[in-house]
Structures are given as C-alpha cells and as structure tokens.
C-alpha cells in the first residue's frame, strides 16, 4: 500500500476544490438558517482572512439579493493601518453596511496593553466593546469567523453557540447539534454566536481565497518591513507606546502576518511567501499552530476558554 503515496500527487489547489464546494454549501446553509430564524443578525467583521471568506459566503447565500444584515467591526484603535484602509475600501466596494464600534471611554482612560496588561486590554477593548455593540444594536445573532481547528476549546464549539444575556458562554448549556438541524430557540435577552466556518481549516480558508480570488489585507503577504525583533516575535511598531527594550533596534525583515489583530500584540513571521499559493505551501510545511504568534492566547493557561466564557468570540 505504499504505492498510495508515491503516486504523482495532484496539485494542491485541485484536490481541494470539491471538498471546498461541500464546505461552501454547508456554510451557506447555516447563514441562510440564521437569516430565516433570527430577527436581527449581524456579521462580525474582523478584516482578517476568515472574515473575508465569511463575507463572500454571505454574498453567495443571498444572491441576487444584497446581504441582509450589517457588518460590525470592533475597532480597538490599535489595528494595523492597512487593515482599516482595507476595511473601508472593501465594505464600500461591495455595498455592505458597516458599523464600527470602539470603547471610547477605555481609550480615553489610556487603555493599552503595556499600561494595563494584555488581558485587561482585550477585556475592555474587545470583549466589552463587542458586548456593548451587540446590545446597542439589539442583535440576537452574531456571525463570527472562528474555526474549530484553531484552538482546543473551540474543537467542541457548536455552530450555534448560545450566550446568556451577558454574552457569556457556558459549555454545559450548549445544545447537541445533529444532522444539519440548528436549534434557534432563545429566550429574551439571550443571543447566539454563529460559526459558519466551524468545519474549515486554515488551509481550506486559503485555498478558498485562492479559488475565489478574494481580496485580503496585504499584511498577509511577505515584504520587507521595519520590525522590532523580540525573541521569536517580530513586532511592527505602529503604536507610539510600544517600548523598545535595551539592545533592541528596528530591523528590516522580510515577513508577513499569519493572523491579523492589534499591532502591538500580533507578531509577524519571517517569510518569503508573497502569493496565496506560496502561503499555502508555507502553511503545509509549518509545524506551528496559527495562533502561536498571537500573544493573547498565551497569557494564561486555557485562556481562550476563559475569554469565551466572558463573552469574547
């Protein structure tokens, strides 16, 4: 049976296609169920690659009608400038309604990761901002781009993730999901987070971006950038408050982002991949989990599970 593996392997992009179409059909089904059964859905738009795929799926789900819900971006004000430019240009181009929400009070208080710590910073600028925005909008269903393969507490996440009135997740209250039957019953005040990309992997996302020619933020592609080299991470010093430690200096390094977040807390990786197929090849070879470079997931053991319980995606 060794022969199975010495056969000429098909080109990576080809073999993916038919399973990508199966994933696409499943995700569209989920998105349509939400629109049919909830009163006020909203799509969380993080500007990253998963969001870009989600947005394309939403366009497909309702074509020839427009996307029947707004996009919501939680802006911490510390996102990369290129992300914000991309967000505004792309939303306008596809005619989507975009809501941008910031926890202005926390920003006015000087909240930033080096002043208050990453946990508290995320808590205020992401989790609290998100919960406030969902409440302000009266949204009862919020789409997110999370995937089950991202992190261990997400492997058990449901497609419809039930949240209580405070947006919090209780692993014990999640409902079994059989077949493709999704339970939309919620009580007043409760809401759901919906994850149409649950069954996609990072590589599936890139293959789909490639197959569909979906525009993504240029930060994903390698180029020479001025960065602070700090241990294994490369920090792009966009924010004035990012401290330069003793013996550190700015270096020009060819690098790219594997995932996009706030510039002080998202490290770049050394890479030469400047096209989508090259990114795919790099990923296939990579041993590192995608979130390894997002500092926030490491600040505490099982930290993602904690964040989810508190209301983060």
């Amino acid at each position: 049976m060794h022969g199975t593996f010495v056969d000429e392997p098909p080109a990576a992009a080809d073999v993916r296609l038919d399973h990508l179409r199966a994933l696409e059909a499943e995700s569209i089904h989920i998105i349509r169920e939400v629109v049919a059964e909830f009163e006020r859905p909203v799509m969380l738009y993080s500007i990253g690659k998963d969001s870009s795929v989600l947005l394309r799926l939403a366009q497909k789900a309702f074509h020839p009608a427009p996307i029947p819900f707004p996009l919501l971006h939680i802006d911490t004000t510390y996102k990369f400038r290129e992300m914000i430019e991309f967000r505004d240009r792309y939303a306008a181009e596809i005619g989507a309604r975009l809501i941008v929400h910031t926890n202005d009070e926390a920003i006015a208080d000087g909240t930033q990761p080096f002043a208050v710590g990453t946990q508290r910073c995320c808590g205020l600028l992401k989790t609290k901002a998100l919960l406030d925005a969902l409440q302000d909008g009266g949204f009862d269903a919020a789409f997110g781009g999370a995937r089950r393969d991202e992190e261990r507490s997400r492997a058990k996440e449901r497609i419809f993730s039930l949240r209580d009135a405070r947006g919090q997740w209780d692993p014990k209250r999640q409902r079994p999901e059989l077949w493709h039957l999704l339970n939309s019953r919620i009580r007043p005040g409760e809401s759901i987070r919906v994850f149409p990309l649950s069954n996609w992997t990072e590589i599936d996302v890139w293959h789909y971006i490639h197959a569909e020619q979906i525009p993504v933020v240029p930060l994903y592609f390698a180029k020479e950038r001025l960065v602070i080299v700090r241990g294994n991470s490369l920090i792009v010093p966009e924010q004035p408050f990012v401290p330069l430690h003793k013996d550190e200096r700015l270096e020009l390094v060819k690098c790219r982002m594997r995932s996009l977040g706030c510039s002080p807390c998202t490290g770049a990786v050394r890479s030469d991949a400047d096209t989508v197929p090259q990114i795919i090849e790099e990923l296939v070879a990579a041993r590192h989990s995608e979130r390894q470079l997002r500092i926030i997931d490491h600040d505490q053991d099982g930290s993602m599970e904690l964040k989810k319980r508190e209301g983060y995606f």
């Binding site: 990576a12 399973h19 339970n183 019953r185």
Partner: protein
C-alpha cells in the same frame, strides 16, 4: 462529493482512541507535507519516537480525570486525496448523545476494541447507535495487537464477533497498534497475515454510499429571495438527487406542480445542480412557496402522524403529556408523542404534529427523514428522531387526549405555573400562524 469524508469514532475508555486519533492527525499531516513538497522529507521515523500521541487530542483525558464536561470534539486532517472531519465521541456517560451526534453526519464509523478484551457490551451499544443513525460502513479497529503478539487468531475471532453485531453493514477490520503505529498509516511488517490496507489508506479510498446521489430530488426551502419585483427565488440546500433547468417539480405540502426556470448562484446560472449544493431556484409559474415547503420530484410523504426512533438526550424525560417543538428540515411545528423516554433511551414512538410535515423515511433520506425535539420550556435540543414510516392520521387512538383537550388542561394550570403558560402560548401560536 468524495473530497470530504466524515468519520465518527467510538470506543471504551482506555482502548486507545486518543492515541489512535493523535497518530492519525500527526502522521497524516506528515504524509500531506511529503506529498505537497515538504521541507522535511528526510530524517523521520514515524513509528519510533517517544511521542505521546494522545497529547495531540487535547484535554479529553484531563477532562475525564477532572470529571468536567465531556463532549464531542471535532478534528480535521487531510491528505492529498481527501479531507477528513472526525467527530471524536467519548465513550461513556453521555455516550448515547455524543455518539448519536457524531454519527448523525458521519459516512464511516471507526469502532475501537482492545485486542485483549474483544467485543464488549459497550462496543455493541456503539454499533447499534451507529447503525440506527444510518451508518453502513464500519472500521473495526482492533487495537493493542502488540499486547497479544499480533496473534491472527485473536483478530479473526474479534472480527467474527463484530460482523455478527452489524449484520448487513460493510465491516473493514484492521489489526492495529496505535501506540507503535502498526497499520495506522502504512502496513505493518508485524502482521504479514493481514493483506488489507492501512487505516489511513482505507479512509482515503473508501467509496461512499452514493444512494443520496441517485435518490429523488428534494430541496427544503430556507428562504424566499425577492430583491426586485421581477425576481423571486427559493433558496435552499439540495438534500438529495439532482435537478436541471426545465425539470418539473412539485411543491409540498400544497402539491402544486411547476418547472424549474433557473438555477441561480453567485457564480452564474447552472444547467444542473445536485446534493449537497446550496442554490436558489426560480420557478416558471407563480406558485405559492414559503419557508418550510419542500420542492421535490417523486413520491414523498405528507402527514401529521408517523412512527420514529428517538434518542432521548435530556435529563428531563420525554413526557407524552407535554407538547414539544419538532424541527424537521426548515419547518418547526408543535408535536406530541405517545410514550415516555428517559435520558439515553432509544425507542420507537409515535409522533403527532399540529400541522403536516413533508418527509421521507430516514432509511431513504437522512435529511428529510430526521428531526429534533426541542423542549419549549428550556429550549434544549432534547431528542433526535429518525422517521420510520408514516401512520394513518385518522387512527389516533381515542384514549389519547386531543391537542385541544391538552391545551385546555394546560391553560387550567397556567395561572400558577409560568411554564404551563408558555406551553399554552406556544400551542396557540402554532395554531394561529
């Protein structure tokens, strides 16, 4: 779509499931890398390292030790041939619910057995649930063969016992050592008497049951899209069969017949579409179609009464005296049952719905033959049902209380009981809408 294979796994505690899954995830990734021009082609000895593969499958062990939530976990791996979605269902406590959940979408079930213990009562139960949920392809993973000296007689005996349990299903038995890697990715030299493919080769090449491709066309309508007055499209996912523009279809439950004018997608109109695609259909005539209707070709059942097998997943027993919400395809209706079930029970029951539903038997169609029962007071998904066959609506036995009598009864206690009040509201809502 053969590019995607959905698998569920089950086994008793300590049979080696975490180790096996860990190895599949880890080693298949290695295989994939090699195929797609990996950086580290050389210097790898997959079967030797002191890696604890069970660590790959996260905290299930830890969870168990701490006695906290045990739940289905989904894992993903791929080779150049296929992508695999694996529902990892822990084999105890809530195993009925977990196993049913994992099996509900699976094409293949891998059942693990410890070679030293052979087929046990739990193996039997897992196999029964998987069969009930419609799985007809099994992998019997006879693990820990290293502890029985790779003895062929042991393997043959276990294989024989298992085959009798799942009479009529395809069984592919493999002698394994998850710990050492024998027959997981590549054939093992320690089982010269075994000529079958390794586990991964088998999963890569197994042909799926294609009955749904050949079966009649079904599309439960999810949404009506009306962007302009000259376009009206019915959006949904094709549950089975295929359809071409120009084909005649029937709208159920109304029974009106019309033809497909266009198959609309974002990527352009299609001449033909098939399961499991999500599409939007425009029809030739202006017929009345709404969410919950089914567009179909060929005979289909429309009834308020049917026999079903139900897996009960809630601590609170199924109560014939209370109404439930039944979600079937894209339609939710009030429903009553004729007998109680307790947590983890699996039983045949009779279901009566407030308004007719459009269905097939589960044996013929997993999508139009399945439903869930939702408890209206907790909103929990409490039961999972598989329709066996339609029943005569007139035959409702007289000793059963009618829905209206039940509403009246519930209304009497509603004054003091918030839950009863909610039940009445739901029943009325159902009648009025």
């Amino acid at each position: 779509m053969s590019g995607l294979l959905r698998i569920c796994t089950a086994g008793s505690v300590d049979d080696g499931k975490s180790t096996l899954i860990g190895r599949l995830l880890y080693d298949s990734r290695g295989v994939y890398e090699d195929q797609v021009r990996s950086v580290r082609a050389a210097s790898r000895n997959r079967t030797a390292g002191p890696i604890d593969f069970s660590l790959f499958t996260d905290g299930l062990r830890a969870e168990r030790e701490q006695g906290i939530t045990i739940d289905v976990a989904y894992r993903y791996f791929a080779t150049a041939r296929r992508k695999f979605i694996l529902a990892d269902t822990p084999g105890h406590e809530q195993y009925t619910r977990n196993m049913a959940t994992g099996a509900s979408t699976a094409d293949v079930a891998i059942l693990l057995v410890d070679a030293r213990h052979g087929v046990r009562e739990q193996t039997e139960r897992h196999a029964r649930i998987a069969r009930l949920l419609g799985i007809s392809t099994f992998v019997l993973a006879v693990n820990k063969m290293d502890l029985v000296d790779f003895d062929r007689a042991v393997f043959d005996r276990i294989h024989g016992e298992f085959a009798r349990l799942v009479d009529g299903a395809a069984v592919h038995a493999i002698p394994l050592s998850a710990l050492d890697g024998d027959n997981v990715i590549a054939p093992s030299a320690r089982t010269p008497w075994f000529s079958g493919p390794s586990l991964l080769s088998y999963l890569e090449s197994v042909e799926l049951d294609r009955t749904s491709d050949n079966s009649a066309f079904r599309l439960p309508v999810q949404l009506v899209l009306r962007p302009t007055h000259d376009f009206r499209g019915y959006a949904g996912r094709i549950a089975s069969g295929r359809i071409r523009a120009g084909d005649t279809i029937t709208v159920w439950p109304s029974g009106l017949t019309t033809r497909i004018a266009r198959i609309v997608t974002w990527d352009g109109d299609l001449d033909e579409a098939f399961a499991p695609m999500s599409v939007t259909l425009a029809l030739e005539d202006e017929v009345d179609v709404s969410r919950g209707d089914v567009l179909a070709r060929g005979p289909i059942h429309v009834s308020r009464r049917f026999a079903a097998n139900v897996v009960w997943m809630d601590e609170r027993p199924l109560d014939p005296g209370r109404p439930y919400l039944l979600k079937h395809t894209t339609r939710t209706v009030a429903a009553e049952v004729d007998r109680p079930l307790k947590l983890n029970d699996i039983g045949p029951i009779t279901v009566t719905t407030a308004t007719p539903i459009v269905f097939d038997g589960y044996r013929d169609n997993r999508t139009t033959g399945s439903f869930v029962l939702i408890d209206p007071s907790t909103n929990f998904t409490a039961g999972a049902g598989m329709i066996a066959h339609a029943l005569d609506e007139q035959a409702e036995s007289s000793n059963q209380t009618s829905a209206s009598a039940r509403i009246a009864q519930a209304a009497r206690s509603a004054a003091t009981d918030a839950e009863a009040a909610e039940t009445v509201r739901l029943m009325l809502e159902e009648i009025l809408t």
